[in-house]
Symmetry: C2
């Protein structure tokens, strides 16, 4: 890590607790379309389950790049239909408003102060599948002190495509090995290491709720493995 | 201005005092190439005089987009030759190091606190000809609390090309009229207004030193004209 100049952060799951936040805000929306009986957490999980598949058409090139908000509006319509919402409530405007919940996500409690510490020594940026518009609103909502906003909108494709990681380093004018990805997901880190980034694993064992089974432990010898962002700032002398 | 959601700032001249900062740092470099007798301010002015012409080839499409640091390295070599530096000192590495002075520019005294105030109500971003790499380093050096970094690197061309302003609004997911350009230069504002942005003129009568003759007054009825960033934050109720 000695050569690292910039830390790129996965956001959904690593920086923010999307599940609790989406669920909390979903109640009102679910009520608005007559789905009071649906568990907001179950709804959040089901919506999130369509996240990876929805990006696949852009990754494969079958569809040209569209921002994540567009995909989220499409997938929320699918989920609402699955849960039995009446078609007339699922208007494009309603779905677009619904996707706004992803702009208002709470950080894990160890994040904010640690990001300020890490920023004192490293350039800190999101390397997220969220667009610049989305990440800007989320940063303002949550108070994330990013130095710039990189990710999907810059590379015009989604992680784990190599360009998403490579373009982050190129855009900052640094070498690939001078950038590290900080993520709670082993597959993200695999892809980042494959193109030459350094890797930092921070487990988020509650990202998917109390029964989470994935990403509880590192699957490879990542360059750094720490229990949270505070420990990361400590070990990096920030 | 009531519909405005984001303020885009011209940076060189409007936010930072490039002339004093470049001159201050240039002394050492000038000494290193045997030009102790050259006035650092004169050197800064001459270098800046090549700024607009250097971007012209990218604007016209004769040359594909290259970041401003690359252009600055080319123009500093020209200026150093003009001032009589020996060719063997003007190496690419030396010129590249020299361009780093543009990453370390001091803000005008009214800027920092006002930007924090304006940020409380508006998305604030640079719309600069500087690249994301350059603007990121400058923001870290000067403590500029941008919400995201937009500008030349996003549109892949230079102001006053319409795309530079349009892409800023598109990238943030807002309408053109929801974005205002804050600038000390009438030509920048002309171009921004031509594509539909709101316009804010803040004069910087010392940008080019005590004998400045350009941009001392507004050339059109810009939407807002204020004497500095503090007055702008006041008038916008921030």
């Amino acid at each position: 890590m000695r050569e690292v100049k910039a830390l790129g952060f996965d956001v959904f799951g690593t920086v923010v607790d999307w599940r609790s936040s989406v669920a909390q805000q979903a109640s009102l929306f679910l009520e608005a379309c007559g789905l009071c009986h649906v568990s907001p957490l179950e709804f959040a999980d089901r919506w999130r389950a369509l996240y990876q598949p929805s990006m696949e058409c852009c990754r494969s090139g079958r569809r040209s790049y569209v921002p994540l908000d567009v995909l989220n509006a499409e997938t929320v319509a699918i989920v609402l239909r699955e849960f039995g919402a009446s078609p007339e409530t699922i208007t494009p405007d309603f779905c677009r408003a619904f996707t706004g919940v992803w702009h208002r996500l709470a950080t894990w409690p160890d994040v904010l102060e640690s990001l300020w510490r890490l920023k004192s020594r490293y350039i800190i940026v999101p390397i997220s599948n969220g667009s610049i518009a989305m990440m800007t609103r989320l940063a303002r909502y949550a108070g994330l002190p990013w130095d710039a906003i990189l990710g999907a909108d810059i590379s015009r494709t989604y992680k784990p495509m190599p360009q998403t990681y490579l373009s982050a380093a190129t855009t900052l004018g640094i070498e690939i090995h001078e950038m590290a990805l900080v993520a709670a997901h082993n597959d993200d880190l695999h892809a980042a290491r494959a193109v030459g980034l350094r890797t930092v694993f921070i487990p988020r064992p509650r990202e998917y709720g109390p029964n989470q089974t994935s990403d509880l432990t590192p699957e490879e010898e990542w360059d750094v493995v720490e229990r949270d962002f505070v420990a990361l700032a400590d070990i990096l002398d920030c």
